[in-house]
Symmetry: C2
Subunit: 628 residues, 2 copies
């Protein structure tokens, strides 16, 4: 094998059950690296445009990277990709954990799933082999049962299990996938794609060893990290990803009551700090990661057990402040159900908040909700709605379609309350207070997404700007409310870096916000592992390449510049908090958007120019030539 | 002082004799670094558009860089800049040697000259002081006399003297400037600008010490260089820059007889190897450079003495093969006169070759030449023409205008033989055989120029592509006759690197062709010296910024896309040699040019888009805001 990667992609045809191995050229690995970019390469090459996302013609891809499986903190992430049933466009979502490294050790860099099995199956992949096994007994089971069942059936506790859940089986458009019950491919509904293929799970086990090309340099990078990362001072370790919830509230940008408000009166009650003081029982981590931001919580009176992991910031905000819920224990129970059904916690919370606002305005009534009092702050109502959505019961059947489709069906002004871009619900970051996000949400190929583009690189209250931004030549702070040319440029540059993270599988909790993982160090590690001589320039171009490929994917699915927009509420004033009265100016937003297009090398219709495709080596994708 | 640079720019007003110091913000140094970019910053900021290049309103700028003066091989170069009397546009030309480092040690990073002295003066700059002294006695002297005179007058052999020559005094449009008699700002006629200001010379002497921010890393880079650079194997050291002349001939791309031919029957006789065997008496070098590519030659029977240095490839080809001259000793004498008069050896050879072809076709006659037999191969005629041009005697007065103006005056089809772009004569590299050069020449802001853009990065017969190109993600060789999208991309990327060299003052003899100086190492050195954390991405963006600024300069002087062209001969077949019959296809060239515009972020008229200016932080230059 090569250094860094196996050079092997596993193809599995579920319709006509068989598997085969593709061995891409080394140049393909260097050009695409893995994750988002390498997935997009296969999607643009092998997926026919216009297919039904939930039909057998869709592809489902899992892709690690050239550094995945090596012991760098934050580098355990991998991508899932396919056509999204939520947006009808580019579907992609990353997860951390141990599954990616295990797949690498099992001899594969990625998996491409074709077709649809005649009955529920699971894959057992181990050391270069792939078995397609019966999974009928697991269909309809909660995720914890599936995990245990597979561990028992295979008889090896060391297997890593990736699975779709009941929500996926019921084709909830924002169904997720999980590995080891606590690492999620949350967004874009790929859990429904997996279930539509009658594929319940992929268990992997590998005993191979990954050898870096330059062990000395690889060790030096890890040593630098050890010496420079202050574990104890890291609030992400201490209080999880919700460590900053209180300051978001103070800054007036904690999404509250369906983005009507920017401040939540119970913010402290649902903070990472409060979690640490009350229900936290343990901390968890991903493969080889020193940050250990993962939580384990227990709430015996609500049946919450540690094995499903604890709550991320996104889950707390979406099912907490966004629904006006200030009861951390209720949120913990909601979270556990989201995990048991394997639902995207962001879209689920968002669709419930949408329903609550519809309820407030009489667009939905108690009759519609089967008697559930769907009012702000009702934590148990949130939990009940999760059951209904996952099982598509009653109003859950409508909400399982996501806010865009639900609002269209409801009519009566419900669109006002449907906060989405391209059909995907807004994550828990407020564009009105971090204006760079307005461009990020509007142009993200997956719809509103906090993992496809940086939040707002110069959010002033972070105090200082990060080392890796100055490495890009971004030297002066920019006000978070600014949306002028300098903000657009900062967004464009940092977006390349963020996208790069999604290609190499680097966690932005390690890669950016802590400032401990300078971009040049990531370059050093990529080179140490692979033996290449990539510069940060080349690496950032891979990030840009991934963005453009995803854009091409959406264009051929019929998206246009008109889809690069924001929900109306973003142009209306925040109703409370430190930024009360702040709204995005629509003209300023549109100017910034057009400037971004031009900066990105896209024409006025948002189509990448021929020169941009030539620059990024992507002409093949539009000219029908051999993919390379 | 800061690490790496003094933070001081010396302004001198020659009209109302006085000087003052400007202290730019540190951000200016990081954003522009020095050389071409920092000169352009001051030109765009301080020079009014439309001025007479030879009038008092033109500026003449000398600019070192943040690493100039530190002992890295190849890093001794600095820029001269102003409005060119040859092209009417961006005038810029770099020289190596010792003058730049001496200026740094004297406490200044650059000099900006304003106005015109009432009588010939010279500047004596020493340790933070500037004296404006009488230079009337030096006016009309050959460069060697001026050098000696100033050394004697100042009484210090350690001064470094930069001067313009008799050619500049006579406003020859391609007059050069020299430092220490052997390092030349050859192109764009800035020697005439210097003389137009009645400024004969700038003598500098400094005793300051430059301290790197991180001496340990700086040492490590130098050590890497020592360990990896094989002095004895380097043909540039052994045979000078003309070491490759024979292989150019074999490849059919040695400019011969005014670019009519690609092969010269006497190539071996004028090669660097032949020089080593015959007239070479010593090798010279620039400040702290291990390459030592400089020559010293002696031809007693022709009065050629070593102090003026020996011949570069460009000088040999322009005054040798381009004029059909195969007599190395005659070329050595020609070269010495070029250096004594301080003329651009490329444009001078080219204008003589032009005249020879006109002579061949009867457009010029023996009467016009005062009896000189201006035929291919007449080395003494070349020397006689150099005298005439430098002194603007007889036909020399016409040829001193450059081929473009001379052809326009001559009429009678002379334009066919005038090989220039934007008024500047083609250097000695053949676009028909290295097609990337066609875009380089057409778009270079100084007109046809081999220092503003890379030759052809994937010239196949180099055998292997260079380390630093793979660092840019250029991973596959491209045929030298190719002019498709991949070549355009390779040109665009390597152009940024080349331009970067002109900003930091790195010699491409060290930086690229030898492959010993990887780009990332240059980054390490910039950071070690300055204490910054620049990435190669940021550095390349400085290179791109410099290109765009020069473009803006030309646009405001009235240049348009129509000026981005090639002489007709490039679209006609080579008449002999390995590429006999090869021509550039005009449609292919125009397609490539348009693709380059788009890739560079320029509109169809070749104007940088607002987004490109925003990205590079250059909106100030078009929006009339404060320069920054």
């Amino acid at each position: 094998m090569r250094n860094g990667y196996n050079g092997k992609i596993l193809h599995v045809d579920l319709t006509d059950p068989r598997w085969w191995i593709e061995e891409p050229d080394d140049l393909i690995y260097r050009k695409y690296l893995g994750g988002s970019a390498l997935s997009s390469y296969f999607l643009l090459r092998d997926l026919k445009p216009g297919v039904d996302p939930l039909g057998p013609d869709n592809l489902l891809i899992f892709m690690t990277s050239v550094i995945n499986g090596f012991p760098l903190s934050g580098a355990s992430r991998y991508s899932a990709a396919g056509k999204s049933p939520l947006t009808g466009g580019f579907g992609e979502s990353e997860a951390g954990g141990y599954w990616g490294p295990e797949l690498k050790r099992a001899g594969f860099d990625g998996i491409i799933l074709h077709g649809r099995a005649s009955h529920p199956v699971y894959l057992f992949i181990h050391d270069g082999e792939c078995e397609i096994r019966d999974a009928r007994r697991y269909w309809g089971q909660l995720s914890g049962e599936v995990q245990e069942g597979l561990e028992e059936e295979i008889g090896d506790k060391r297997i890593c299990v990736l699975q779709t859940g009941i929500a996926g089986e019921n084709a909830v458009r924002f169904a997720a996938m999980t590995n080891q019950l606590r690492h999620y491919h949350g967004r874009t509904g790929l859990g429904a794609v997996m279930a539509s293929k009658n594929l319940k799970a992929i268990a992997v086990r590998g005993t191979g060893r990954l050898i870096p090309a330059d062990p000395e340099t690889a060790r030096r990078v890890l040593q630098w990290f050890r010496e420079n990362y202050d574990h104890e001072a890291d609030m992400r370790h201490k209080h999880g990803s919700a460590n900053g919830l209180i300051s978001l509230d103070q800054d007036g940008i904690l999404p509250t009551r369906n983005f009507r408000d920017g401040s939540f009166e119970c913010a402290k009650d649902i903070s990472g700090q409060r979690m640490s003081e009350t229900i936290l029982v343990n901390r968890g981590t991903c493969f080889a990661c020193a940050v250990a931001c993962k939580r384990e919580v227990a709430v015996p009176e609500r049946g919450v057990e540690p094995k499903y992991g604890g709550m991320e910031y996104e889950t707390i905000a979406a099912n907490g402040s966004l629904c006006g819920v200030g009861d951390l224990k209720a949120i913990a129970e909601a979270s556990q159900w989201l995990n048991r059904y394997v639902l995207d916690s962001i879209s689920t919370g968002a669709v419930i908040a949408f329903a609550m606002e519809c309820y407030e305005h009489g667009i939905l009534t108690r009759e519609d909700t089967d008697g559930i009092e769907l009012v702000w702050g009702n934590g148990d109502a949130v939990i009940q709605m999760i059951h209904k959505i996952a099982r598509r019961e009653g109003i859950g059947d409508l909400l399982a379609e996501g806010v865009k489709r639900a609002a269209a069906k409801l009519g009566r002004g419900a669109e006002r309350f449907a906060l989405h871009v391209k059909g995907q619900e807004l994550p828990m970051h407020e564009p009105r207070g971090k204006r760079g996000l307005s461009i990020a949400y509007a142009t993200s190929p997956t719809g509103a997404d906090h993992m496809e583009a940086p939040h707002d690189p110069f959010y002033e209250s972070f105090g200082n700007y990060h080392h890796e931004f100055s490495q890009l030549g971004l030297l002066e702070p920019i006000n978070r409310l600014d949306l002028g040319p300098e903000k657009v440029r900062a967004f464009f540059y940092t977006q390349m870096a963020w996208s790069l993270f999604n290609c190499v599988g680097m966690c932005d909790f390690v890669g950016v916000p802590l400032g401990v993982m300078a971009l040049e160090l990531l370059r050093d590690y990529v080179n140490a592992v692979t033996g290449w001589d990539m510069s940060l320039f080349e690496l950032l171009k891979v990030g840009e390449r991934a963005n453009v490929m995803a854009r091409l994917f959406n264009l051929r699915e019929g998206f246009t510049a008109a889809d690069d927009t924001l929900p109306q509420r973003m142009f209306e004033p925040l109703q409370n908090g430190a930024l009360k009265g702040e709204a995005i100016n629509r003209e300023e937003f549109e100017r910034a958007l057009k400037l971004y297009y031009q900066m990105a090398g896209w024409d006025e219709q948002g189509v990448p120019t021929r020169a941009k495709l030539a620059e990024l080596g992507l002409l093949w994708a539009v000219e029908g030539k051999d993919a390379k």
